[in-house]
Amino acid sequence: MTGDAVAVGGHNGARKSYRLRDEPKVLMPRSLRGIVIAVLSVVIVVPIGYMVLMSLTPNQDVALGTISLRVLGIENYVQMWSAAPLASGLLHTIIIAGTASAVSVMVALLAAYPLTRFEFRGRRAYLYTLIALQTVPGTTTVLPLFAILSWIQTTLSVSLIGTYWPIILTYMTFGVPLSTWLLVAYLRTVPRDLEEAGLVDGCSPLGALRRIVLPLALPAMVVAFVFAFLVGWNDVLFASVFTNQHTQTLAITLELFSSTSFSTGTPVYGELMSAAVVSSVPVVVLYLVCQRYLVSGLAVGSLTG
């Protein structure tokens, strides 16, 4: 605010120094900054705080709107596990999203390496396809995938819906382009000299990939894994079509818990909110723990789609 004295003139000593009206790098006045932060904080904290408060309030008190701090307790967090199969939903999510994102990242590394290291026909077209795929909403692919699945099930008389395969493969459709983009953006910043040194020392190209590029790309691979994992964690559309009670994910368990609870007329709002908190906490903790890597990844990931 008060501004620094900036010396103006040649380096053989500035005789005159101007006092700038404000610090050049500061783009928002401090008072306005305070207002913006205060308003946004309230807007963010109030609904989240309400969610947490409701998760600690007995169901009937939420329904009646008689909220008081005296009745708070953790009963909802205990009861919800038996009210809905949330534990198995959590397990299914971890299996499905974990497998899909682990495989996605491996496939993506294999693809990102030639895309950043070699010039070949169709390389640009490939990159464009990766961008384009990220603008396609899921509602346009869920139906044909469902038709193919039903057709395979009928023709070969096998049952696929209710197994992990269709949903894992579907999440890979999103995981592979996303991870490839993140890894392409990252590998561009890794100098080629390191691999060339490895090649000179007698590494095969694949050996260079495994011994030199893989360790260097590991942080980016972790970021890619997390983002691909969150695709599966957050998805409702595909999981609601491609899973049944044997494979349903946490998101679907919660969605079914909510819609049956609302349509039977005795909504267990408190338990629903505690389940919502439990589905949010791992994601939030994940972000807070590795905020630095993930936010830079978020910027790259979102910048690239």
Partner: protein, 290 residues
């Protein structure tokens, strides 16, 4: 090395899109879907029906297109100034900046289904937080039905704005960080005040990345299925919340009118072709494909 990725993309990304165009010309119901290869050809009837006949939900595809346009455009228009202001507010160094930055990400990183479910409780008639606040301040009588009827659109719209502004914030912050300090110092020495620096130094460099972010955000709002599905789930959502993804989903998986649903999905892609093309072009201009 590209083979696994290419196969995955072709089999699960591009082939389904092509298949869907074919499906949209078939008379596909629950009984013909399993053997869709032999389903009767229907010509453009699914498309005609989509626009002329109200679906089992009671709205036409035209209505859903209108709602989806309003929803995605209003979301982008509303989140843009919030995101830019938020980015400016944490650009300069100050104590607790890390904390505020972490807080700003919260609405975005909470899973969409948890946000939608919370919104459902927050917007409860009479007993929800919104009605309590509005009633307490005397703005309304505190008895507004937000989850059914004509107000449903606005409940959904407000929730989307709450959840989506950090997307623009992240883009703006990334853009701000690429403005060299030296340029700001030079401008300041030349007498540019805070507003002039923002307007003539920062904004021109920000506009490319910001446009890209706004375009992408609009596409994502347009494709948002989770919010309306979870927020109004259990019963088919009210007319004001029948965005295009919801219309497609209920036609397909609740009413088993798969041909019509495929037609709606094709219409969705046709609508997104132009903004999608602009996005890919501007991604190239931003130098990300070299």
């Amino acid at each position: 090395m590209l083979v696994p990725a290419t196969l995955a993309l072709l089999l699960f990304g591009i082939a389904p899109a092509l298949l869907m165009i074919w499906l949209s010309f078939l008379n596909l119901t629950a009984s013909t879907l399993r053997q869709f290869v032999e389903a009767p050809f229907y010509g453009v009837r699914n498309f005609v029906d989509a626009f002329t006949q109200p679906s089992s939900l009671g709205v036409t595809t035209g209505w859903s297109i209108f709602i989806s346009f309003a929803f995605s455009l209003l979301s982008t228009i509303a989140t843009a100034p919030i995101g830019v202001a938020a980015a400016l507010s944490v650009h300069d160094r100050f104590r607790a900046r890390g904390l505020v930055r972490a807080l700003y990400l919260m609405p975005y990183i909470i899973p969409g289904f948890a946000t939608a479910l919370t919104a459902r409780v927050v917007f409860l008639n009479g007993t929800g937080l919104v009605d309590k606040i509005l009633g307490g301040l005397g703005i309304t009588n505190g008895q507004t039905y937000w989850l059914i009827g004509p107000h449903a659109y606005w409940a959904m719209q407000l929730t989307e704005i709450w959840a989506a502004w950090p997307f623009i914030y992240l883009f703006t912050l990334a853009g701000l960080q690429s403005v060299p300090d030296a340029q700001l110092e030079a401008a300041a020495i030349d007498g540019a005040g805070r507003y002039a620096r923002l307007r003539y130094v920062v904004l021109p460099q920000l506009s490319g990345v910001l446009k890209l972010g706004l375009l992408l955000a609009t596409l994502y709002h347009f494709g948002n299925f989770t919010l309306a599905f979870v927020m109004f789930g259990g019963t088919p959502p009210p007319a004001g919340a029948e965005v295009l993804p919801i219309n497609m989903y209920y036609n397909a998986f609740t009413f088993f009118n798969f041909g019509m649903a495929a037609a709606i999905a094709v219409i969705t892609i046709v609508i997104l072709i132009i903004p999608g093309y602009v996005y890919i072009r501007s991604a190239r201009l931003a130098g990300r494909v070299e």
